[in-house]
C-alpha cells in the first residue's frame, strides 16, 4: 500500500535493497560440518541394522522360516532346534503388562505435576522424575529381587487361588514368583519416569485460556482436566506410551534378574517361568558356539527392528502433538 502511494508520488518504483545472500566460506564449512554430524545418526542406525542382520544370517539360514515359530536353544548339532518364538512372546507380554501398569501411574504423575502441584514444588518434583530415569536398571533389578518379589508372592498366589477361572491368572505350579507379571511390574515402574516427563511436557503446553475458561464456567478441576488438558494431550499421551513401550521391549537386566531364562509360552502371567529377547541375549552370551552367537545377533536384529518401529511411530506422534496439530480450537 505504502509502496503504491510512494510510487505514484515519485513516479518511480523503489528498488528493494539487495542483501548479499551468499554465505562466507567459514559459514559454508560450518553448515556442512553440522549437517554431516546430523546425518551420522542415519549412518549409525543403518550400521546397527545391517551388521546385526549380516552376522545373524547364519541362524536364520539354518532354521529358515521356522526360526520365528520355534522355541529352543539347540544350536549344537543337527537337526537344529532353536528360534525366537518364546523370547518374542515373553517380550510382548512383559511390555504389555508394563505399559498397563506404568502408563496410568505416569499420566497421573504428569497431571499432578502440571495441574495440581504448587509452583514452588514443581521444580523439585520434575527433578525427582528425571532422577528416576537415571537410576541404573540393575539397581531396580536388585530391589525387585530382594524386596518386591518376596513380598508380592503371597498376593499373586492368592489371586491365582481365587481368580484362576480368568485364563491369565490360571496355572497350578505353586511358586508364583519369577513370573511375567512380576517382571512386567518392575519394568512398568521403570518406564514411569520417561512416560511421565514426556506427557508432563505435553500437558504443560495445553492452552491456559481454555483451562481458565473451563474453570470460569464453573467446572471443577477434574472436569477442566477431562475437557481441556486430556483432549489436548491425547497425541502426546499416545506417543509417550509408545515411547514407554519401546523402553519396555528393550529392558534387559531387570527382566533377567527376575525371570531367569526359561522357555515358556504360557498365557498364565502369574506362573513361574518365561524369557524375553533382551534377557535371553544377556543370559545366553557365549553359549551355543558359532551358531548360538548368530542366533543371539539375529535376536538382536529382531529386537532392534521391533523397538525402532515402535519408537519411530512414537516420535512421529509426539512431534506432531507438540507442534499443536490435531488440536481443535
Amino acid at each position: 500500500m505504502s509502496t503504491d502511494t510512494l510510487a505514484s508520488a515519485t513516479g518511480a518504483v523503489p528498488r528493494p535493497i539487495i542483501v548479499p545472500n551468499d554465505r562466507s566460506r567459514e559459514d559454508k564449512i560450518f553448515r556442512f560440518v553440522a549437517r554431516a554430524a546430523g546425518l551420522t545418526v542415519f549412518v549409525i542406525l543403518f550400521l546397527i541394522g545391517f551388521f546385526l542382520f549380516l552376522r545373524g544370517l547364519p541362524a536364520l539360514r539354518a532354521m529358515g522360516p521356522h526360526y520365528f515359530t520355534t522355541s529352543g536353544n539347540g544350536t549344537a548339532h543337527k537337526p537344529y532346534h532353536f528360534g525366537a518364538l518364546a523370547q518374542m512372546y515373553g517380550t510382548i507380554v512383559i511390555s504389555i503388562i508394563a505399559v498397563i501398569i506404568g502408563v496410568p501411574v505416569a499420566i497421573g504423575t504428569a497431571l499432578f505435576i502440571s495441574e495440581y502441584a504448587p509452583t514452588r514444588s514443581r521444580r523439585a518434583l520434575i527433578a525427582v522424575v528425571d532422577l528416576g530415569a537415571a537410576v541404573p536398571s540393575i539397581i531396580f533389578g536388585l530391589w525387585a529381587l530382594h524386596v518386591l518379589q518376596p513380598d508380592i508372592t503371597g498376593t499373586t498366589s492368592w489371586v491365582n487361588r481365587h481368580f484362576s477361572f480368568i485364563p491369565i491368572f490360571g496355572g497350578n505350579s505353586p511358586p508364583f514368583n519369577a513370573s511375567f507379571f512380576i517382571a512386567g511390574l518392575v519394568v512398568g515402574l521403570m518406564i514411569v519416569p520417561i512416560v511421565a516427563s514426556v506427557t508432563r511436557e505435553v500437558f504443560s503446553l495445553s492452552p491456559p485460556g481454555e483451562k481458565e475458561g473451563a474453570l470460569a464456567l464453573g467446572a471443577t478441576r477434574s472436569q477442566m482436566i477431562r475437557t481441556v488438558v486430556l483432549p489436548f494431550g491425547r497425541g502426546g499421551m499416545i506417543g509417550a506410551s509408545m515411547l514407554g513401550l519401546g523402553r519396555a521391549l528393550g529392558e534387559t537386566i531387570a527382566v533377567y534378574v527376575i525371570l531367569g531364562n526359561v522357555f515358556a509360552i504360557t498365557p498364565h502371567i502369574l506362573e513361574h517361568g518365561g524369557t524375553s529377547v533382551a534377557s535371553y541375549i544377556a543370559a545366553e552370551f557365549g553359549a551355543g558356539g558359532r551358531l548360538g552367537t548368530a542366533n543371539l545377533l539375529m535376536l538382536g536384529f529382531v529386537l532392534f527392528t521391533f523397538t525402532l518401529i515402535v519408537n519411530l511411530l512414537a516420535s512421529l506422534i509426539v512431534n506432531r502433538s507438540r507442534s499443536g496439530a490435531g488440536v481443535e480450537l
Partner: protein, 414 residues
C-alpha cells in the same frame, strides 16, 4: 440470598468488601443458578440482582480433612477384617491395594452424600493423581534409601581402591581383601571415552537441528528420537557384531565405550537441542545483524548463553551411561583385576560387579553386590545433583555476547 447491589461501578471497583460473607466454604462445586444474574444483565436491570453466595476458592476445608481421615481409617478397618479374618492372606502389597480401592469407593460415597457428586468425583481424581505421584516418588526414594541402608554398612574407603584380585566367594572375610577400585577405573575410562566421542558429535547434531536447519532437519530429529529408544543390549550386541566377531578389536574398555557412545549420542543430542531452543532468538538476530557470521554467532553467542544447560546435558548423559549394564556384557566382559589399558583386554565396570554377584548364594558375596550397588548409586546421584547445580548457575557471558546484549539494550532505548 437477595440483596441490593448498590451501583454497577461499585461492583466493578470494590467487589470484595461488598460481597456477602462466604458460607460454609466447603462445597467443591456448589449448585450455581446463573439464570437470575444473566436475566438481570439481559434486561439491564442491574440494580436488583439476586446473587448466589460466592463459592470459596478454597475447596478443601477442615471438615474435608476430617472426612478424608475418617474414610481412610474406616476402609482400613473393613479391609483388615476381610483380608485377615476371612481370606487369611499374607503380603502387605495386596492389603494396600485392597485398602486403596475400598478407600476410594468410600470416599466417593461419603463426599457425594455430604457435598455433591461433582465434588466427589473431583476429589477422587485429585486423590488418584496425588497417589500416583506418591507411588512413583515413594518407590523411587524407597529404592534409593534401601540400597543406601543395605550398602553403607560394609562400605570403607579401602573398598574404593582395592580390587577383586583376591576374590574368593567362600571367604567369610571377603570385605577385608576385595574392593571395586578396578571397576571404578573401568567405568570412568569407558564412560569418559564414550563422552569424548559422543559429546562433540551430539553438540554438532543439536546445532544442526536448531541453528542450521533446512534440509533433513525433520528426519534427523525423528531418527534421533527413535535412536534414543534403541535398547542398551542392542548397542552392546551391535559392537560385538561389528568389532569383536570379526576380531577387529577384542573385549576391551574401548569396545564398551563404543557401545556407550551409541547410547549417549541421542540422549545428549536431545537434551542439548532443548537447551539451545530456549536461547532467545533476538540475541542470534542481533549478532547476525551486526555482521557476525553464523559460525561466530553460534560459537560466541549461542553456546556461551546456553553453557550451563550444555554442562547439564553432558553430565546427565554421563550419569545415565555410568549405570548401563547390558551393553558391557558383550564388550568389556568384566575383569576382577585392575586393567588400566582401555584398549586391550577385558576391563571391569561397576554394573558388571553387581551383575556377576547378585545371583551368588553366599551372603557375603551378595553383600559385596550391595556395597557395589551403593557405590554405583552414589556416583550416579552425585553426577545428577552436579548436573542440576551446574544447570542452575547463571549463564556465562562471553565478550562478544556482552557486546551484542549491550547493543540490543541501547537499541531498545532508541
Amino acid at each position: 440470598v437477595t440483596q441490593v447491589v448498590p451501583e454497577v461501578e461499585d461492583l466493578l471497583h470494590t467487589p470484595t468488601e461488598r460481597r456477602p460473607p462466604t458460607v460454609a466454604a466447603d462445597e467443591g462445586a456448589g449448585t450455581h443458578d446463573g439464570a437470575t444474574m444473566s436475566e438481570a444483565v439481559l434486561t439491564g436491570n442491574v440494580r436488583r440482582v439476586q446473587m448466589d453466595p460466592p463459592r470459596s476458592t478454597r475447596e478443601f476445608g477442615l471438615s474435608s480433612v476430617a472426612v478424608l481421615i475418617a474414610t481412610a481409617i474406616s476402609s482400613w478397618a473393613v479391609v483388615w477384617m476381610f483380608f485377615y479374618q476371612l481370606t487369611l492372606l499374607s503380603g502387605a502389597l495386596g492389603f494396600i491395594v485392597c485398602w486403596y480401592a475400598c478407600f476410594l469407593v468410600m470416599y466417593w460415597v461419603v463426599t457425594a452424600l455430604t457435598v455433591d457428586r461433582n465434588a466427589a468425583t473431583d476429589r477422587i481424581v485429585t486423590t488418584v493423581v496425588a497417589s500416583c505421584t506418591a507411588l512413583m516418588m515413594g518407590s523411587l526414594l524407597f529404592i534409593i534409601g534401601w540400597v543406601f541402608v543395605r550398602g553403607v554398612g560394609h562400605f570403607t574407603v579401602g573398598f574404593l581402591w582395592r580390587t577383586m584380585s583376591f576374590y574368593q566367594p567362600a571367604d567369610p572375610h571377603l570385605f577385608r581383601d576385595v574392593g571395586v577400585g578396578h571397576a571404578i577405573v573401568g567405568t570412568l575410562e569407558q564412560v569418559g571415552l564414550a563422552a569424548l566421542f559422543a559429546v562433540p558429535l551430539a553438540f554438532l547434531t543439536a546445532i544442526f537441528l536448531n541453528e542450521v536447519g533446512g534440509w533433513g532437519t525433520r528426519s534427523v530429529r525423528t531418527i534421533v528420537t527413535a535412536m534414543s529408544g534403541v535398547p542398551s543390549i542392542v548397542a552392546g550386541v551391535f559392537i560385538y557384531a561389528i568389532f569383536i566377531v570379526p576380531h577387529v578389536i577384542g573385549y576391551s574398555g574401548f569396545a564398551a565405550a563404543m557401545a556407550l557412545f551409541v547410547l549417549m549420542l541421542p540422549a545428549v543430542t536431545r537434551t542439548t537441542e532443548e537447551v539451545l531452543r530456549v536461547v532467545p532468538g533476538g540475541l542470534r538476530e542481533a549478532s547476525l545483524a551486526l555482521g557476525a557470521s553464523e559460525w561466530r554467532t553460534v560459537r560466541q553467542v549461542v553456546l556461551p548463553t546456553a553453557r550451563s544447560g550444555l554442562i547439564t546435558a553432558v553430565v546427565l548423559g554421563i550419569a545415565i551411561a555410568a549405570g548401563e549394564t547390558a551393553p558391557l556384557i558383550f564388550t568389556s566382559f568384566g575383569n576382577n583385576n585392575m586393567n588400566l589399558d582401555v584398549f586391550h583386554g577385558p576391563q571391569g565396570a561397576l554394573p558388571l560387579v553387581l551383575y556377576e554377584n547378585i545371583f551368588q548364594a553366599q551372603a557375603v558375596v551378595v553383600q559385596l553386590a550391595f556395597t557395589a550397588a551403593f557405590v554405583l548409586l552414589m556416583i550416579v546421584l552425585i553426577l545428577f545433583v552436579l548436573a542440576r547445580l551446574l544447570g542452575r548457575r547463571r549463564t556465562s557471558k562471553g565478550k562478544f555476547r556482552r557486546f551484542v546484549s549491550a547493543r540490543m539494550r541501547s537499541l531498545r532505548k532508541v
